[in-house]
């Protein structure tokens, strides 16, 4: 690839990005590496090998690079799916790096050796934006970023109807205890009385105070003689309406494994 700096840099970038995306634990670093590896470099290399020395003008080449990268991802999935190891981080990293390096090597062979002084001009040569233009584009980026941040922020929604949910599941496969949970999606803090009845006699009572978005859960043992089953009923009452059943969940332990 001597003399073809774009191909050399693409190959190096392909390998480095693949290694970073596959091995580095920090998501943000992996994103920075994976975006060019998936959305640009494979297409750039394939376009380079397809066109040899008669590549289209830069805007079309860039568009094709991204478009062909998307095609390579689509078809690459089918290739990886054939192998027993399948579609994984490592297999994607290896496949994309191999495509980039292999296609760059092929492109270098097709282009032939460059004569001294024949090297490409940088596409940004002569591009000198004014400070005003830079400031306006920077402001545009900041405003768009602010729009994205605003969109990701959950906001107070006073007119939305809140609710509280009660749930109950066995703690593990032995099914000799249950976990009973109360989740608040109410607009305001609320207090409840939780009653868990095991069989006909045993009852446990809990006072539950929850802020909006908060969840509390309780583990309740379900003792039972061998071979028998117990009916467990958890009932939730609002403290300001103690006579009115608010939520109820039930279970029969151990659970059946067949349909009725």
């Amino acid at each position: 690839m001597r003399g073809h700096r774009d191909l050399a840099w693409s190959s190096i970038a392909g390998v480095v990005c693949a290694l970073v995306a596959a091995l580095v634990p920090w998501e943000i670093v992996r994103i920075v590496a994976a975006l060019p590896l998936t959305l640009f470099l494979p297409g750039y290399a394939i376009v380079a090998v397809a066109f040899g020395s008669s590549e289209p003008a830069l805007p079309k080449r860039l568009t094709l690079s991204v478009g062909v990268s998307l095609m390579a991802l689509v078809l690459g999935t089918l290739v990886l799916n054939v192998f027993p190891f399948g579609i994984r981080t490592a297999s994607w990293a290896v496949l994309l790096a191999v495509v980039v390096v292999g296609a760059c090597r092929g492109a270098a062979l097709r282009r032939g050796r460059l004569q001294p002084g024949q090297e490409r001009r940088s596409p940004l040569a002569g591009f000198r934006p004014s400070w005003g233009a830079v400031a306006m584009v920077a402001a545009a980026v900041v405003i768009a970023a602010a729009a994205l941040v605003l969109a990701q922020k959950p906001l107070p929604a006073k007119n939305a109807e809140g609710f509280t949910a009660l749930w109950m599941l066995p703690t593990d496969s032995k099914e000799d205890a249950v976990r009973v949970g109360v989740v608040s999606s109410e607009q305001d803090p609320a207090s409840y009385r939780l009653t868990v009845r095991v069989g006909r006699k045993s009852q446990s009572h809990y006072r539950v105070e929850l802020d909006p978005g908060e969840e509390r859960s309780f583990e309740v043992e379900v003792p039972r003689p061998p071979g028998s089953r117990r009916h467990v009923v958890a009932s939730l009452y609002r403290e300001n309406k103690p006579q009115h059943l608010y939520r109820r969940v039930t279970s029969w332990l151990p659970r059946q494994t067949t349909f009725p």
Partner: protein, 603 residues
């Protein structure tokens, strides 16, 4: 034709950076209106439409000038595509929220989880058989650690920018004018599916851009000498194969385009190589994929198409009443927010403007009919067919087919529109006034397209998550999905459709809804009928969601918080919640309006 000679004008002061700045302000205004809507403050939606116009009008104006260079025009159409995509992204920026997005996100998560393709999807069984989008997304997910939402948003955004650039190059090559190409792309964003439907995380959102890249490669190949042109065969072939495994209808559409081109090349005796090899490849690839990997597509598409044909026939013969335009289908007695009269008028006026632009363009093209290329001829036919497809909106079961076809046919319409715009921008007295008329027309087309492309009452975001006392709270169906994700390990659910979609993702469960099998009637009827338990047993569905909300089956509106006064605040018969308790079966989760039953947990 529209030439791009530089000239000086007061409007030339509207530089690219300034246009970028106004576009970002428009995006922010749309995001702000959506934020107010999520906060249930019922903002005036006029703010949102102003936001859209602030994005688009300066770009349209700049594109209509002679001054901008080829690269600047490309930059402007990319800016337009990016800004309008951000409008969709900032509408629901926490989770996917469009009905099909849950389905495809579930597929992508399955690929990441199981490392192989084709895992079953209970919502749309055909989708795993066209794994292009999800496979590409899985590359980003596995290499970055991002969620399907993050990876999918980036991937569709990239595809959208590629679409804008490829459409610009395609139009520029065929029309011979970069100004015309820019205006053609500007017209395309007025397609009713552009703003929301085409921007969602769905297979067509990737397949359509790839199709346009293929068409661009084809016209570039035609324009180059043979020794250079052959290189364009690489993106052409790769693109045809990628479209084939990404989306059924797009692959059939692409095959049809190449077959028609091959026929036209022969009939018109074009002195260039006939594209029959590409037609053969596209047709064989689509057929082979259908027979080998995606046989279920026949069962998926045939009812939709036959119902559409029947509906057209019945409406045409007067056997059934035509569908009311702008009427939102609802399976309950509750009324869905109707589109206001003024908005309807804008949408219809946009169609009228498109028809005028098409007519003017067609007249221009007719004058040079002897030198027309086959693809240009095809675009003229597609443009005319667009108006024919609009008529399908009057047939109740065919409106969706017409709506979806519009996305493809609009490419032809936008191309012919270029020549109508050229007529309007021809030099002479009153040019400035005509330019402003064109820009205003494009603005109306954009807004009109957006109005007719998405139901009026869900144009703005609704609350899926909210904040109360400084902490995040989830909507009822989302809270159930989160509970299932944390506490129930990949089980099978029967649920109303809106709940089922959220149980797919973020819930991570295999959730059935709808009519295949007939879950809709099981979870939607207050009585437990004799066939219902056997059907649940047959399909191995131990968990059943009972949901009293009227919107529980509505995949556009059912996933959000209930807001009094908005559609979905009415409740169905209380018996609906308790019918499975009478079996009896265990109640696992109870949130008041929604109860989750475990049918295997019983006395």
């Amino acid at each position: 034709m529209v030439s791009a000679r530089p000239t000086t004008s007061k409007l030339d002061r509207l530089s690219f950076p300034l246009v970028a700045l106004t576009a970002s302000l428009g995006v922010f205004l749309c995001a702000l209106t959506n934020a107010l809507s999520r906060a249930t403050l019922e903002p005036n939606s006029i703010l949102y439409w102003i936001g859209l116009l602030i994005i688009a009008v300066p770009i349209f104006l700049r594109l209509s000038l002679k001054g901008p260079s080829y690269r600047e025009r490309l930059g402007l159409v990319l800016l337009l595509g990016l800004a309008l995509y951000l409008v969709k992204v900032t509408r629901d920026s926490i989770f996917f929220s469009f009905p099909d997005e849950f389905v495809h996100a579930f597929n992508a998560e399955n690929i990441e989880r199981y490392h192989h393709l084709y895992h079953f999807n209970p919502a749309i069984t055909t989708t795993p058989r066209y794994p292009g989008l999800e496979g590409a997304t899985s590359a980003l997910m596995t290499l970055t650690g991002m969620s399907s939402f993050g990876a999918g948003t980036i991937l569709v955004g990239t595809a959208r920018l590629t679409f804008m650039a490829a459409l610009f190059f395609l139009f520029a090559r065929l029309s011979g004018s970069t100004r015309g190409a820019g205006l053609g792309v500007a017209a395309y964003v007025g397609s009713s599916n552009f703003l929301f439907w085409g921007a969602q995380f769905s297979y067509e959102s990737l397949a359509l851009p790839l199709m346009v890249v293929v068409l661009m490669a084809f016209v570039e190949r035609e324009a180059e000498p043979p020794e250079v042109g052959s290189a364009w065969a690489v993106p052409l072939v790769l693109g045809i194969l990628a479209v084939t495994v990404t989306h059924h209808l797009t692959s059939y559409g692409l095959a049809a385009i190449f077959i028609l081109l091959a026929v036209l090349y022969r009939v018109m005796k074009v002195k260039k190589p006939n594209p029959w090899p590409f037609a053969l490849l596209a047709a064989l690839a689509a057929l082979a994929w259908l027979l080998i990997a995606a046989r279920s597509t026949v069962n998926y598409l045939s009812p939709v198409l036959t119902d559409a044909i029947k509906a057209i026939w019945k409406t045409a013969t007067g056997e059934s009443a035509p569908r009311t335009l702008f009427h939102q289908a609802s399976n309950t007695t509750e009324t869905v927010g109707a589109t206001p009269f003024f908005a309807r008028a804008v949408a219809l006026f946009a169609i009228l403007l498109l028809a005028i632009g098409f007519f003017l363009g067609l007249r221009q093209l007719w004058r040079r009919r002897r030198e027309l290329e086959p693809l240009v001829l095809l675009f003229c036919v597609a443009g005319a067919a667009f108006f024919g497809a609009l008529l399908l909106r009057f047939a109740p079961a065919a409106w969706e087919t017409g709506n979806r076809a519009g996305e493809f046919l609009f490419i032809g319409l936008a191309f012919v529109f270029i020549f109508g715009a050229a007529e309007l921008l021809r030099g002479g007295p009153g040019l400035q006034r005509r330019r402003l008329l064109l820009v205003a027309g494009l603005g109306i087309v954009l807004v009109g397209g957006a109005i007719s492309g998405w139901p009026w009452d869900v144009q703005l975001a609704r609350p899926l998550q909210a904040k109360a006392h400084g902490r995040e709270i989830d909507s009822e169906p989302l809270a159930l999905a989160e509970f299932a994700r944390k506490r129930i390990d990949g089980s099978r659910f029967a649920a109303p459709e809106a709940d089922a979609r959220l149980l797919l993702t973020p819930g991570g469960q295999v959730a059935f809804g709808g009519q295949g099998p007939d879950i809709q009637d099981i979870v939607g009827s207050p009585e437990l009928e004799s066939w219902q338990l056997p059907l649940l047993k047959e399909n191995h569905l131990p968990y059943v969601v009972a949901d009293r909300r009227n919107s529980a089956d509505d995949t556009l509106r059912g996933q959000y918080f209930t807001v009094p006064g908005q559609y979905g605040d009415k409740l169905q018969d209380r018996k609906l919640l308790h019918k499975f308790a009478r079996i009896p079966a265990a109640r696992v989760w109870d949130s008041g309006r929604i109860v989750l039953y475990d049918l295997k947990d019983r006395p």
